[in-house]
């Protein structure tokens, strides 16, 4: 019995270790002081108003949302199409393309970042939305392909035959049968694509420029020098948005399960 107590105690500690430290930025963002002390001696919203008043910080947030939004659309469309394409391949090609799309997942991000930086510099694309969206799309694609692939794997193929037998053409079958049934996978993949882009730091550090800069890149630049409660505000915003995305994804999987 005591072994059980030990196990539970250990697990509670692990859970705390996993979750609690992440929250440290939140009280820091509500400090009334000009420096970060945890917990703050006095609380205020002054750093939130400061963030809202600062055009350069605001711009990074807008850029982040723009990049993440565009990445989500491109990755969801291209990734869903790719998953549908892979699904039509024979087993060997399936394996090959599967591995190809997973390449970015197993390659160290810093290597991709440096390689992309060199290429973007040569093409004059450093500091452009295009470069950021393309780079984030490449990172997000595997998750969309994987998610949609899992949905497709669970799709009863006879439903497509049934629809064809009832007279439906390929496009109608896709619209009325395939798409509604793989929608949870597509949406799940899209949410993950959004978060992947919004959370991404390393590629963005290399590809951002003075005018086009994402929120994480700005945070990164600041905390390498000095960290103020303003950075904690930015970090709290990132945390909150990611949390919202996690909730959306959870709701989707729950709905798909019922």
């Amino acid at each position: 019995m005591s072994g059980r107590v030990w196990l539970y105690g250990f697990v509670a500690l692990t859970a705390a270790y996993l979750v609690l430290p992440i929250m440290a930025v939140v009280p820091a963002a509500f400090s009334a002081q000009s420096f970060i002390k945890l917990p703050p001696d006095a609380w205020s919203l002054r750093w939130w108003t400061a963030f809202a008043a600062d055009a350069s910080w605001r711009r990074t947030l807008v850029t982040s949302l723009q990049v993440a939004g565009l990445t989500t659309v491109v990755a969801a469309l291209a990734g869903t199409a790719a998953a549908l394409g892979i699904d039509r391949c024979g087993p060997r090609l399936k394996l090959l393309f599967g591995a190809l799309f997973l390449g970015p997942v197993v390659t160290p991000v810093i290597v991709i970042a440096v390689a992309l930086y060199a290429m973007a510099r040569a093409a004059g694309l450093v500091g452009t939305l295009t470069a950021l969206v393309l780079a984030h799309t490449m990172l997000a694609l595997p998750y969309v392909v994987l998610n949609v692939g899992v949905s497709l794997g669970g799709l009863d193929r006879r439903l497509l035959l049934a629809a064809a037998g009832l007279g439906a053409g390929p496009w109608r079958i896709f619209r009325t049968v395939t798409l509604p049934l793989i929608a949870p996978g597509v949406i799940g993949g899209a949410v993950f694509a959004f978060v992947t882009s919004f959370d991404e730091v390393v590629l963005s550090i290399f590809l951002s420029g003075p005018t086009v800069k994402t929120l994480p890149v700005r945070i990164w630049e600041e905390i390498r020098v000095e960290y103020t409660p303003l950075v904690a505000v930015a970090a709290t915003i990132m945390l909150t948005l990611a949390l919202l995305a996690a909730l959306v994804s959870r709701l989707m999987t729950k709905r798909a399960a019922t």
């Binding site: 859970a15 549908l84 997973l102 997942v105 390689a115 490449m138 994987l146 950075v231 990611a242």
Partner: protein, 282 residues
């Protein structure tokens, strides 16, 4: 059943084309180009590799990267195993909660998670103040900008990747086997060593591969929590590009890192599919 598909090969190619184009232009082409750049040093085609692999300073970086990655892997597995085991044993409500605790960090940017650690591990941060205040230590510990900080932060960031594959493996073990072992008079330790551990070895191998692979290429956390003495390979690559502007050398170091990652994947490929790795990512 091909009748419904029509020209299914052409359709498959057309469907995959946009994504393949992105992967080709944004992933494959830059890597190939970087590979070519690694031979473009003025001192001769192989000079970069000779320097990266020969210079004692760089060798120190390699050793440090390896030691950090290996330590993180061992510690993460040691924490993940009991956690994963507990996940399979506790009631559904607690399981949901604990599972949420494991998955939740994956949604949060590594940058935010690392920044939180910086606030916590500071010389005058809450952890040091609590330790000093409780009288456990006289002087604040130096937890930040050294290997201790890197380990604390990296283990926390990578722990979910270790828990998930082990959980999947333990889940597949028939609980009757444990009862059978205990029924035959085996002690708990013996049951663990002779039944549980061997049957979940695949999960442990997947977890270890996964954590080690990610740790090898980790950049944000070591760059922010570590100091100059605990430089890792990815920090080196960054500084070669951004500070020394030595592209061929950075390219060569990148290739070394990539080959190391490929070797890990290749060695692990015997137990672990790359797909499983990516799936655990989700």
């Amino acid at each position: 059943m091909s009748g419904a598909g029509g020209t299914s090969k052409g359709a498959a190619a057309a469907l995959m084309a946009p994504a393949l184009l992105v992967v080709a232009i944004v992933f494959l082409a830059p890597l190939v180009r970087l590979f070519a750049m690694s031979f473009e040093a003025k001192a001769g085609p192989m000079a970069t590799y000779l320097e990266v692999l020969g210079d004692p300073i760089y060798r120190h970086v390699f050793v440090n990267t390896f030691v950090v990655s290996a330590t993180v892997t061992v510690v993460a597995i040691a924490i993940a195993y009991p956690t994963a085991f507990a996940l399979t044993r506790i009631g559904p409500a607690w399981r949901t909660l604990l599972f949420a605790c494991v998955l939740f960090p994956l949604w949060i940017s590594v940058l935010v998670r690392t920044f939180s650690w910086m606030l916590l591990l500071e010389r005058n941060g809450p952890i040091n103040r609590a330790l000093v205040g409780s009288g456990l230590i006289d002087q604040p510990l130096s937890l930040l900008f050294n290997r201790t900080g890197v380990l604390i932060g990296m283990v926390q960031v990578l722990l979910p990747y270790a828990v998930l594959p082990i959980y999947a493996a333990v889940l597949r073990i028939d609980p009757a086997l444990i009862r059978a072992s205990e029924g035959l008079g085996a002690s708990r330790l013996r049951t663990f060593l002779s039944v549980l551990l061997p049957l979940s070895m695949r999960g442990v191998a997947t977890a270890a591969t996964f954590v080690f692979l990610l740790a090898l290429g980790f950049f944000i956390t070591p760059a922010l929590l570590g100091g100059p003495a605990s430089m890792t390979l990815s920090m080196l690559i960054d500084s070669l590009v951004n500070e020394r502007l030595d592209w061929p050398l950075a390219a060569a170091a990148s290739m070394v890192l990539m080959v190391a990652a490929l070797i890990v994947v290749g060695l692990a490929g015997r137990f672990v599919s790359v797909r499983a790795i990516a799936e655990a990512h989700r």
